[in-house]
Structures are given as C-alpha cells and as structure tokens.
C-alpha cells in the first residue's frame, strides 16, 4: 500500500516547471551587469592649501581649527569619479569679515552650496549658494559648526538636509549621471554686517498636544485594563 511512492504526475510536473523557472531566473539575474551607481548627497569638504579636499572623517569627528573653512556641496556623484566640490573658494577673510572674534571661541567659515538645478531631486529647487561664519566653542566639531549657521536634518549621523533642502531622502541612489564638464564657479551670498543667525527654535507652534494626549490616553487605558485583568485573574486563580 505504498501510495506515497507513486506521486501524482501533476506534482512532479509542477516541481519540474518551478525548477526550470528558478534556473532561468538565476541565469537572467547573474547575466545582468552591475553598473556604477550614482548617489545624491551632501558632501563634506575642508579647505586645505587652496583647494577643497574631501573630508576623511565624518563631520562629528572633525574638529576644525580657528580660521578653517568647511564646505558642503549637494550633488549627484558617481561612486567612481572626481568629487564635486563647492563652486566657490573658501575665503575665510571674506566670509568672516563681519564676525568679531571672542575669547574662548573660534571662528569657522562655512560654505553651503546646494548645487545645480540638475542635481536637485524631483520637484525641488536648490537655494542660492551662501557662506556663513560660525562663532562656536573652541572644541566644537564640524557638525556643531554647521548647526550653528544652518538648520540641519540629520539621520543616523548623516547630514541629509541643510536649510530644508532637500526636504526628504538621505543619500538616495539615482539614475542621473554627473556632468562630465567641471562646474562653473559662483558668487557666495555672504552674511550682512549684523550677524543673521537662523533661529534655532522650531516654527513657533508648540507640541501637538492633541496627538500626544490621545496616544497617552489610549496607552494608559489599555495598559491599565490589561494590568487590572491580569491582577484579577491572579486573584481569582489563587482563591479558587
């Protein structure tokens, strides 16, 4: 009564079909070539010896010295290829001309270049490139320097957005390719004599109490009911 041995031919056919499908897909998949991918992100550069060099450490690990210039450039860059640097020179004297030095603090110039419209993600327009001077503590890192002069959006330690550009995404992969010709230089918008630091606060509205209150009430009710039921069950279990 070994009915198991005689498997129905339908099952065998289905298994053969699936095996051939799997083999075909594997061949298709491995036959495709992996192209070099392009990413759209904020690159961090430091001005050394008259040129922009790509920073080797992250912005929270780099501690710029007094008189240094940090550069940020948003662009589409391929994995292999020359880095796309900010389109203006890092002129500390011009950028920090209107900011006075203070004891115990250091002045660091920051060049924020949002890049070309061709580099922008869909539906966004890059703001004009600007320079700003940060007056920060002597031990501040480049990340703290940047947050002193601009609103930053940071996710998992990566700077994803500066001054709200881009509004979403972080280092996304893209099909666009970087242009072959080098970018033309631009003039930076420099801060006026009265230092106009952007307000570090939010847009003025308070916390969304409605949402938080609803959530707190729901969580408290469910948790309280759960604990009460558990205690009640334990009491009746011990009593019976």
């Amino acid at each position: 009564m070994s009915t198991i041995a005689a498997r129905p031919p339908a099952v065998r056919a289905a298994a053969t079909l699936l095996a051939t499908l799997l083999a075909a897909l594997t061949l298709l998949a491995t036959a495709g070539s992996a192209e070099a991918a392009s990413y759209r992100y904020w690159g961090f550069y430091t001005w050394t010896n008259g040129t922009w060099t790509f920073a080797t450490k992250g912005p929270d690990q780099t501690k710029p010295a007094d008189g240094a210039v940090d550069g940020w450039r948003f662009a589409v860059s391929a994995e292999s290829g020359s880095p796309r640097t900010p389109r203006a020179d890092g002129d500390f004297d011009a950028i920090c001309a209107s900011t006075k030095a203070a004891t115990g603090k250091k002045r660091v110039a920051v060049v924020i270049d949002a890049g070309l419209p061709a580099d922008a993600p869909a539906g966004e327009k890059p703001p004009a490139a600007r320079g700003a001077c940060a007056l920060v503590d002597a031990t501040a890192s480049s990340a703290q320097v940047l947050s002193a002069v601009a609103k930053t959006r940071v996710e998992k330690g990566l700077v994803c957005g500066i001054d709200g550009y881009p509004s979403t995404g972080c280092g996304d992969q893209t099909d666009a390719t970087p242009p072959a010709t080098p970018d033309a230089q631009v003039r930076l918008a420099l801060p006026a004599a009265a230092a106009d630091k952007p307000s570090s606060g939010d847009d003025g509205s308070g916390p969304p109490w409605a949402g938080i209150a609803v959530a707190a009430v729901l969580v408290a009710a469910l948790a309280g009911a759960g604990v009460w039921r558990a205690r009640g069950a334990a009491r009746s279990g011990a009593g019976s």
Binding site: L22, L25, P208, A215
Partner: protein, 377 residues
C-alpha cells in the same frame, strides 16, 4: 467578556502568530514612540484577555522587562559610542583619545539630547518587536505550536517538544542535587562544586532520555514509510534549490544595486519550490493528530486584524508620512499618525472575536471544539 456563541476552545496557534507577526511588522516600520507604546499596550491587553492559564501565559511581563533592558542598553551604548548629533548637550563624558586608525569610533565626549532620543526611538522599535513575539509566546504555549509543524519537519518537532518538556525537569533535578550536597556538608561553589552538581544531573538526564526513547520506540515513533531513493533525492534537491533561491531572493531584495530579477521573483520562486519539496517530503511521514485545532472564522478575523495593522503602517510609509519617523535633528515633538494608529487599534479585534481559552478544569468537560459560526463557514 465571553464572545457570543463561542464555546471556550484554543484558537489555532498559527492565527495568533500571524496576528503577532502583523503587529511586529507594524512596529518595525516606525520609530514613533507614541505608536510603539500603542503597539505594546494593544499586545498587552490582548494577552491579558486571551492568555491560557499556563506558566507560559505569564511570560509577557518578562518580555516587557526585556524590552526595557534593551532600551536602557541602547541608550548607554549610544551615549558612550554613538554619533553625536544635535546641539542640546546634556552632559559631557570624558573623552578617551583613540589612535588614528580607530578614528571612526568615539569613546565618551558630549552626550546630546538628540542622540539620546535617537537611541531611545531605535531601542523602543526593537523592544516593541520583541514584545510582540512575547505576546505570541504567552498566547500560544510552544507545545501547541509544535502540533502545527508541517509533516516534513515532524521529527525535528518531536525533538523540540521533548526538549521543552524535559527542560523544567532539568532545573528541578539541579535544585535537588544542590540541596543534597548542602545536607552532606559539601560545597556548591567553584569548579569542584560545579562538577559535583553537573555529573549527577547529566547522568539523570541521560537515563531519563533513554527511558523516554525506549517508550517512544515501543509506541511506534520514528517509523517511516518505504520510499524509493529517487523520490527522496528529488525532494531533497527541490528543498535545497528552493532554499538557495530564497537566500538569493532575499539578498536581491536587500541590495539596492542588484538587477530587478534577483529580488522578488527569485524569492517567490524559491518559496514555492521549497514549499513543494516540503509538501512532497511530508507525505511519506505517517502521523495522526489528536483533535487538531480548526481554522474557522475567529482565526480568519484574528489574522486579518494583524494584517490590517501591518498594512496600514506600510501604506502610511509608502505615502511618505513623516510622523512615522520623527526626526531628532531638528528636534520635533512626535505626532500620532492617524492611519497607522487606527490599524494598530484594529489589532484589538481578537479580544472580541477570539474564543476564550478553556479553563484547566473545564477542558475535559467541553463537548465540542467548534463554534456554530465555524460549522456554517
């Protein structure tokens, strides 16, 4: 709160685990602390309403405590080693200078509110997923889950059941041996004490397992049907190819730069192949099940509520709801997104539709396991 028309019976274990998987999926797609707290509260309420009166049923509290420990560890690690972000410095730890080759790692330094909050959100997400698994564990004792193991994994399932049943006995045997040694004035500390406890306990465990093996053998466990070698090899090859396809498909899904054919199609084909191989392999195992749990309307509704929770959160993520992942830099107050919150609240449905578990005294008295609705379905 007894659902109308449902006699007390055990819900199918698969339904509880699918419901918990849906909640865990919803929790894994968000770092919003309000949503995650809601997930934990919903899971806790359902557990309190439908857990069976077994020792495993009170394990939910242990999982919640484990979740809190996870959050605490994550915060400490984030404060010591994490990336500093943000400007609101809470306090500054002494920073240890590291050599140049370890420049990517930071030890100590300023601890900011933003990095602490980021660590709390991340830890809460992991804790919520673990709490969902704990909820399923509390609702379904593992022995009941092993009754649903597919026939192809039957022997492995029996081994796990035996291990789970004998593990408490091992703990009790250890306690007995320790007490006997103390009565004899022998020390329980150090290497000598460990050897003195371990040897009798292991001897006793070996004897018990041999007795159990003899008893199971005499009752016919471990018999296999006569299967031609060709069939065995084919099914083995099918399962192996299917599992390889699943591995490749998962890699293709996770790697953004791989060709599209390497992702979902390969995964689906691999799952189908492995499933076919498992089903074919399972037909050669002869076993019967005693009073298998039915899959009726309460099971469908429970699974659907978990799927709704997962689906609402995934839909909100695809729609780009920013409140799902509140940013820490700039610091914003977390908002409660409506769609995922409604989905998570829908996971409360089992409290209404799932039958109560049978009380230990009433399990023998219950006449039939099915409900009138199930007979109509």
């Amino acid at each position: 709160m007894t659902p109308v028309g449902l006699l007390p019976r055990h819900l199918h274990p698969g339904a509880w685990w699918l419901w918990a998987a849906g909640l865990a999926t919803a929790a894994s797609r968000t770092t919003n602390p309000l949503l995650l707290a809601l997930v934990v509260a919903v899971a806790g309420f359902v557990v309190s309403a439908r857990r069976p009166a077994t020792p495993w049923g009170s394990s939910y509290g242990a999982f919640v405590r484990l979740g809190l420990v996870i959050v605490a560890i994550r915060v400490v690690m984030g404060a010591l080693f994490g990336v500093t972000q943000g400007t609101h410095v809470l306090f500054t730890l002494p920073e240890l200078p590291l050599p140049a080759w370890a420049s990517g790692v930071r030890l100590g330094g300023p601890v900011t509110l933003e990095s602490v909050l980021a660590a709390v959100y991340d830890g809460m997400r992991l804790a919520a997923v673990i709490v969902c698994v704990g909820a399923a564990n509390a609702l379904v004792p593992p022995a009941r889950l092993l009754r649903c193991v597919p026939a192809a994994l039957y022997e492995a399932g029996v081994a796990v059941v035996v291990a789970l049943t004998l593990a408490p006995q091992l703990v009790r045997a250890t306690g007995r041996v320790r007490e006997a040694r103390r009565l004899r004035g022998r020390s329980n500390r150090g290497l000598r004490g460990l050897r003195g406890i371990a040897v009798p306990v292991l001897e006793g465990a070996l004897e018990r397992s041999l007795d159990l093996a003899a008893a199971m053998d005499s009752r016919g466990y471990g018999r296999r049907a006569a299967v031609p070698a060709a069939v065995r090899r084919t099914t083995g090859g099918l399962v192996l190819a299917g599992l390889l396809g699943v591995c490749a498909g998962v890699y293709g899904l996770l790697d953004a730069g791989s060709p599209p054919a390497l992702g979902l199609p390969l995964l689906v084909a691999g799952v189908l192949l492995a499933g076919t191989g498992t089903a074919v392999a399972g037909r050669r195992v002869r076993r019967t099940r005693y009073r298998p749990d039915p899959w009726a309307l309460p099971e469908w509704l429970t699974t659907a509520s978990g799927a709704v929770a997962a689906g609402c959160t995934v839909a909100a993520a695809l729609l780009g709801t920013l409140a799902l992942t509140p940013t820490v830099s700039p610091l914003v107050w977390p908002q409660l997104p409506v769609l995922p919150a409604a989905g998570v609240l829908a996971a409360l449905l089992p409290v209404v539709v799932a039958p109560l578990p049978p009380s230990p005294a009433g399990a023998q008295a219950a006449p039939g396991p099915t409900s009138p609705r199930a007979e109509a379905a």
